[in-house]
C-alpha cells in the first residue's frame, strides 16, 4: 500500500493537481460535479493528505503543544483529557512536553517552537519559572500562548486559572471553623503563582481570625520526595504539632498521611487536614480527605478552546483573556466532624 498523493488522484481523474487540491478544500472555484468526482476517487483510494507538505505551504500545522511540569499528577492528567477532547473536535493534534519542574528544560522546549512547529502553546509553568523571557520570546515570534493553572504573573497573556486565593481562604476558614487554632500551610514553592495565591488566602483568613502571624505557620516543603517526607515528619512530631494543616498541592498528601500513621497522629482529632488535590482516592482515605478540588477537566477544555480561538481568529486579542473557574471544597472527615 504505497502512499498516494494528490498527483495520482489528478492522473486518475485526468485533471490538474491544482483542481484536485481546490476540490478537496471545497473551493468555490470548482464545480459541484468535479468536487463530487474528486471526493469519490479520494475516498476510494483512501487518500490522506501529507501533513508536512500542507503545513509547509500554509505555515500552520494544526498542532498545539502542551508543556507541563509532569503528567503523573491528577490535575494535569485530567486537564490533558479536556485538552485532547477539544483538540480532537477541532481536528488538532497535541504534542506533549514535560518540563520536570526545570526552567532550563522549559526554555529548551519553547525555543523549538519558534520554527513554526506548532500553531499554539498551552503551558503550566515550572515552579522555577519566575521570569518568563523564554515565554515572551515565543509569544513575540507570533505564537499564541495560553497559560493554565500555573501562570507567570508578569506576562500579559491569556490565562485559565482557578480561584486559588479564595480556595486558600476557604480552606483555612474551614479549618478554623472546625476548631483548629493554629493551622499551618505547607508551601511547595514561594515563586509559584498558585502557591502564592493559596498562601495569600491562608494569610488573609488567619488575619481575619485575629491569629498572630507567626512565621512558623507557613512551612516550606522542598527538595526530593524523601526530603519532603522528612520535613513533614518533623513538623508532625508531638512536641509542637499543629492542630490543622493545608497541603497546598497533591504531592504533599501522601507524606502527610504517612507521617500521621508513623507518629500515631490522629486525623482529624490531633490535626485537621485539607488538601488541594484531584486524587480519586481522596474519599477512600481513612479518614476521607477534605479537598479543594480543582476543575481540571473544565480548565483543560477552556484553555484549549481559548487557544483555538486565538489561533483561528487573528482579530481576537488573546492576551487580554482571563478565565477563572472556581474550585470546590469537598468536605470530608479529615477536617473534623
Amino acid at each position: 500500500m504505497s502512499k498516494i498523493t494528490i498527483r495520482e488522484l489528478a492522473k486518475e481523474l485526468g485533471i490538474a493537481v491544482s483542481t484536485v487540491s481546490k476540490a478537496l478544500r471545497d473551493s468555490h472555484e470548482i464545480s459541484t460535479e468535479t468536487k463530487a468526482k474528486v471526493l469519490e476517487v479520494a475516498t476510494r483510494l483512501n487518500y490522506i493528505p501529507n501533513l508536512y507538505a500542507s503545513s509547509l505551504r500554509r505555515q500552520k500545522s494544526r498542532t498545539i503543544a502542551v508543556v507541563i511540569p509532569e503528567v503523573a499528577d491528577s490535575f494535569f492528567s485530567i486537564a490533558i483529557n479536556g485538552i485532547e477532547e477539544v483538540a480532537r473536535e477541532k481536528g488538532y493534534h497535541v504534542l506533549i512536553y514535560l518540563s520536570h519542574e526545570s526552567l532550563e528544560r522549559e526554555t529548551e522546549i519553547l525555543n523549538e517552537f519558534k520554527s513554526g512547529r506548532v500553531d499554539g502553546l498551552m503551558i503550566s509553568v515550572t515552579s522555577e519559572t519566575c521570569t518568563g523571557n523564554h515565554i515572551t520570546a515565543a509569544m513575540n515570534s507570533g505564537l499564541p500562548v495560553v497559560f493554565f493553572d500555573r501562570i507567570c504573573e508578569d506576562i500579559q497573556a491569556a490565562r485559565v486559572i482557578t480561584d486559588d486565593f479564595e480556595s486558600g481562604y476557604i480552606a483555612t476558614r474551614h479549618l478554623l471553623e472546625k476548631g483548629s487554632l493554629h493551622p499551618v500551610f505547607l508551601s511547595i514553592s514561594s515563586t509559584l503563582s498558585i502557591n502564592q495565591r493559596r498562601e495569600a488566602g491562608f494569610i488573609k483568613a488567619l488575619q481575619e481570625a485575629g491569629i498572630p502571624e507567626e512565621k512558623k505557620s507557613i512551612i516550606p516543603c522542598t527538595g526530593s520526595d524523601e526530603q519532603i517526607a522528612a520535613q513533614i515528619l518533623q513538623l508532625l512530631e508531638p512536641a509542637n504539632r499543629p492542630d490543622g494543616l493545608i497541603a497546598s498541592v497533591e504531592k504533599l498528601v501522601p507524606p502527610v498521611y504517612m507521617a500521621c500513621q508513623q507518629l500515631g497522629c490522629r486525623i482529624p482529632d490531633d490535626v485537621r487536614v485539607v488538601g488541594f488535590t484531584n486524587l480519586p482516592a481522596a474519599p477512600i482515605l481513612q479518614p476521607a480527605l477534605t479537598t479543594i478540588t480543582q476543575p481540571a477537566f473544565e480548565m483543560g477544555k477552556t484553555a484549549a478552546a481559548l487557544l483555538f480561538k486565538g489561533i483561528e481568529k487573528t482579530s481576537f486579542d488573546l492576551s487580554k483573556e482571563t478565565k477563572v473557574i472556581p474550585s470546590r471544597l469537598m468536605q470530608r472527615a479529615s477536617s473534623g466532624a
Copy 2:
C-alpha cells in the same frame, strides 16, 4: 523577530544554500572551517530549521504517536514519563492521543498516521480492540509499531509487557496463603489481553489449590463508574461476601474501598484485597493496599527505546521483539497480617 531561513544564512555567508544545509547536518562533504563559520552564523542569528520542510523532504518527522485509552490512570501517566524521557534524549517529539476505550476512535486516530504523520507508534489498545485490522493496516503502510501493556494477541508486533499471568498467579496465591478460601477476581473486560492473562494466573492458582472452579469467582465489572460501583457493592453484601478479592485494574480500587466502608466490611478481616495499581496513595489507604505494582516507567522507557531502534535501524525486525518486565507484589495490610 522574523523567521530566518537557510537561504538567509547562505546570503549572510556568501555561500550556497546546499552548502549551508550540509554544514548544518555535519556532512563529510564540507570542510571543518566552513562548518564552523556556518554554525557560528546560525547560532548568532538563532536559526531554527523548519521542521515541516525537513520532514517533507526526508519523509520523516522525528515525531512519534502514543495512543492510550486514557491518561488519568497512574500506569499510563507514569509510562508517558518514561516515553517522554527517551524521546527527549533522542530528539523526538511525542503526540498524544486518547482512544477513550473506543475502537472507533482508535481506528480514526490510526488512519491519520498513514500519511506519514509520525515515524512510529506506541499503542496500548482499547478494551474493545480484539481484531486489529486498523493496526495491521498502519503497520503495512510501513509504520513501526510497539505495543505496550495492553497488546493485541493476534498481531505479530513488538511488545513491551509485564508478567500479567505470573502476577495474577502470585496475587492469588498470596491471598490463599493469607487465609482466603474463596477469592474472587474482578474482571473489567474479557477481551483485554492483560485482563485475560491476570485471570488465567488467578485460575491456575485456584486449580493448584484444589479449589473447585465456580463460575462466580470471576466477577465482570463493566459499564460506567456508577454501574461498577453498584456491582461491587452488591458483591460485598454480607450474604455471600467473598473472603478475598483481586482488583484487576486501578479503577476498581476506589469502589472496592468505598463499598467496604459503606457496608462496614472490614479489610482484611472480612475480605482480603489485592489491587493491580500504581496509585501513589496505595500505602496511605486504611488499611494500606497490597498491590501488584507495574513497572510503568521502565515499560514506557523500554517501549520507546525499542520503537526508536525500529525506526532508526531498518535492518532491525521490530515485530519479533517481546520484552517482559516483571511486576512486583507490594505486600501491605489489606491482604492480611
